[in-house]
Every structure is written in C-alpha cells, then in structure tokens.
Symmetry: C2
Subunit: 228 residues, 2 copies
Amino acid sequence: MHTLLSNLKININEKIFLKDPESSDLGKRIIENSILLIDDIGFDAFTFKKLGAKIGSNESSIYRYFESKHKLLIYLTSWYWSWLEYQLVFATNSIADPKEKIEKAITIFTQTATIDSNFTHIDEVVLKRIVINEYSKSYLTKEVDKENKDGYFLIYKRLVTRLHDMILSVDNTYKFPFSLASTVIDGALHQHFLKDHFTTISDLKKSDTPISYFKDLVFKALNISNHE
Amino acid sequence: MHTLLSNLKININEKIFLKDPESSDLGKRIIENSILLIDDIGFDAFTFKKLGAKIGSNESSIYRYFESKHKLLIYLTSWYWSWLEYQLVFATNSIADPKEKIEKAITIFTQTATIDSNFTHIDEVVLKRIVINEYSKSYLTKEVDKENKDGYFLIYKRLVTRLHDMILSVDNTYKFPFSLASTVIDGALHQHFLKDHFTTISDLKKSDTPISYFKDLVFKALNISNHE
DNA sequence: ACAATTATGATAGTATTACTGTTATATTTG
DNA sequence: CAAATATAACAGTAATACTATCATAATTGT
C-alpha cells in the first residue's frame, strides 16, 4: 500500500496560489503551521503576521505564496477534499456491488480522520477539524459565484458528483441524487460540529460518529435493506 | 413539552443587546437597515460606520444597541428562528395527526419566506436570505461554547427540539431524532444555497424549494407512506 | 415649567488587520 | 562565479472594530 502511493501528490487549482507551496520548504512550513494555527486560534483571528512569527518567517514572504488568508483557506479545504476523494476512490474502486460501494462511501465521509503518512507535513486529523469549523466560510461570501467560475470549488463538487453517481447506480429512479449526496457530505461535517458544541440537540456521544445515522438515512431513502 | 406562543412579540435574549432595539425608533431603523445592508454587501463587508451612513445616524449610537456586529448577527438570526417558531407552532398546533403535523412542519422549514405584516420594520424575505448566507458564521467561532452557555442559540435549539419531538411522535423507535431534525432545518438552508450558487450539484431549479426532497427523506426514514 | 435624566450626535483616538511596495540579503542554478 | 531567484526586513496605507469624551437634543418626573 505504501509503495503504491509513494508518488502521490494532491493537485490543487493553480489559480488558488501565487506560488505552489509544495515546491519549497517554506511553502510546506506555511501549510503545516497554518493548519495548526487556524485550529488553535480560529480562522477569524488567524493572520499571516502571526503565522510568520510561528514559523520564524516574514509576513511578506507568506504573501508570495497566497494573496490572502481566504485563498489559503480555499487551498487547505481543497486539499482536504482532494485527499478524501483519493480515500474514496481507493476504497470503493474495486467494489462491484453498488450497495456495498455506497456503504463504504458513507463510512469514508462520516468517519473521523486518521493520519496519512504519505503527507508528512499535513496533519489530517487537525485539518478535518478545520474543515468542520471553517469550510462554510470559504463559500459563504459575496465572491462565491466568481470564485466558483474560476474553479475554486471543483474538487468538492466532483466529490458530491461521485456520491451522486453511486446513489443513482443503486436506484436510478431516485429523484434527488445531488441533494442526498450533499446532505451526506456536508451534513456529516455539521453533525460532527453539533456533537462537539450543541450536545443537547445531538444524538451522538463524544467519540461517536454519525455513520449509522447516515447509513440508515441513505439506505431507507434508496429502499435498500440495512444489514448491520 | 413546550408552552404555546402567547403573543406576537418576538422575544430575544437580553444578553444579546445592550439596549433593546424594539424600544426606540433608532433601534428599529438599525434592525430594518442592517438587514438590507448585510443582504446588499454581505456580513463580512458590513460595518456599523456604513450602517450609520445609511440611516443618517452615528456609528457610536449604534454601538449603544449592540456591542459588535457579531452580536447584531446573533440578534437577527435569533429573530428569524423565533419568527419561524411562531409560524411552526401556529400552523401545526391544531393538527392532531402526527404525520400531517410533521408534513406541515417540513413545509414551514423548506418554503421560501413571505412578508409578515405583523412586523413592518423587518423584511422576512431578505432576512431569510441573510440566514441562508450568514447564519453559520454566528456559531462557527472560537467563542461558541461560551455563547451557547449564555443562551445565544436557545431559540434555534428549541426549534430543532420541536421537530425532534414531532419525529418521535411519529415513530418513537427512531434512533436519530435530533440528527434528522437538524438535517431538515440546517439542510434546508444549505440546499437553498446550493440551488443559488452551486447549480451543477443541485437537483432544484431556480424557483424550486427542497420540500419534496425533505418530505421524501423524512417519510422514508420514519417508514410512513408518502401520498402526494 | 424646568431640572434632571436619558438618548443621540460629533469627534478623536487606538490597536490591529490586510494588505502593497521597496530594498537588502541569502540561496540556488546555469 | 555571475545571474537569477527566494526570502527577510521594514515602511507605509486605508480600513476595521472598536473606546472614550464631550456636546446637544429629546424625554420625563415633580
């Protein structure tokens, strides 16, 4: 498994950065530490100046990689979705049975992340926390239509479409394949948030994952039996 | 068990404001025009200075009502949820049949808003757009746990609980009543957003509403027949 | 009526943010 | 080893998100 993926590189739309952070040591330190710092103080309080202080580098140097912290957030979340896509394809590609395939997909989307040693400078567990807490801010902006046209959300949309396709291959008469797909993907993030912060309106306990909820939901929506 | 709404006054937690905006003419102008301005330029670009210019008042006067624009957003979204709660209770209270009741509830949560002439200074249609585009920003913060303790999100959580109760009264063996309730309420907002901005991953057309999707989803989840 | 209270307005000031621009120095490469 | 490139250091700017002070206008209580 490790040898098979040793040359793996997550590809991000070049419009998102000024200079590819994967192309240098400083770039990688920017990515690694921005994840840690955003998780620590939150995206709203996060600045390039603070990041510079953390990595012993200068604010202006960081601006040579990303033109704004907003673009950095888009980069980080795109990286996350791309990484999830690779997990999804890798785990479901060989499965022939549509039911089994979608079951596996739901697992991928709802489970808590684990470290992937293929990408040493990125802590996927922390990154997932960022996606849960900050992803919405990347598209809930006045510029969303323009940035969408520029392909900033392509990987995310491709992931939704992949799940959409799996849904249709289980039941091609189902009328809301896109809605159900985005409900699972975005809803999974949201249920994690509710579990952590609004505990009184969550069915989940601390270390729980919304996997059984979404399996039950999707299986019933598509009229397939749920064998646990 | 919830108490029924006794009048049409929307009550907001007093910790959210410094001075009740309902108590003065200036206060009402702040509410009315902040809704229009946030809708116009987005919450991120919105400032009290710009709002002051719009209403011919001073920045410092607005600060006497709300200590930050964040609190104003909490106020506006709380108002929206409270208004929705009143709609929900008003429309479902007299319905005895649990199926019919939940069907009506889903309609309330998924439909596009219409003007309510009981509140002349608030444009509910525009306010709903704000909730769709900005609500997440009110809780996706580092202060969420503290603010939650202070009751800032109480009305929203009470709404989720009301739907949770309806779900259980249809099927009290259902295992995920809270998750399903928040999926409908928050998912409805999100599906509206996707329809407007990420059209390629939406099943809905321009003037559509996600009502049939959520009805189908909930009815199947709760094993009740869907008679359209 | 009029003093006291309260509400609003005008203005100034502050630390921080989110950058841009310029120059200097260090590192890499051909 | 010169040239190109990358990074660092620093200055500067307009805007943001406030706080603080004082003046004036409107309301209220007796």
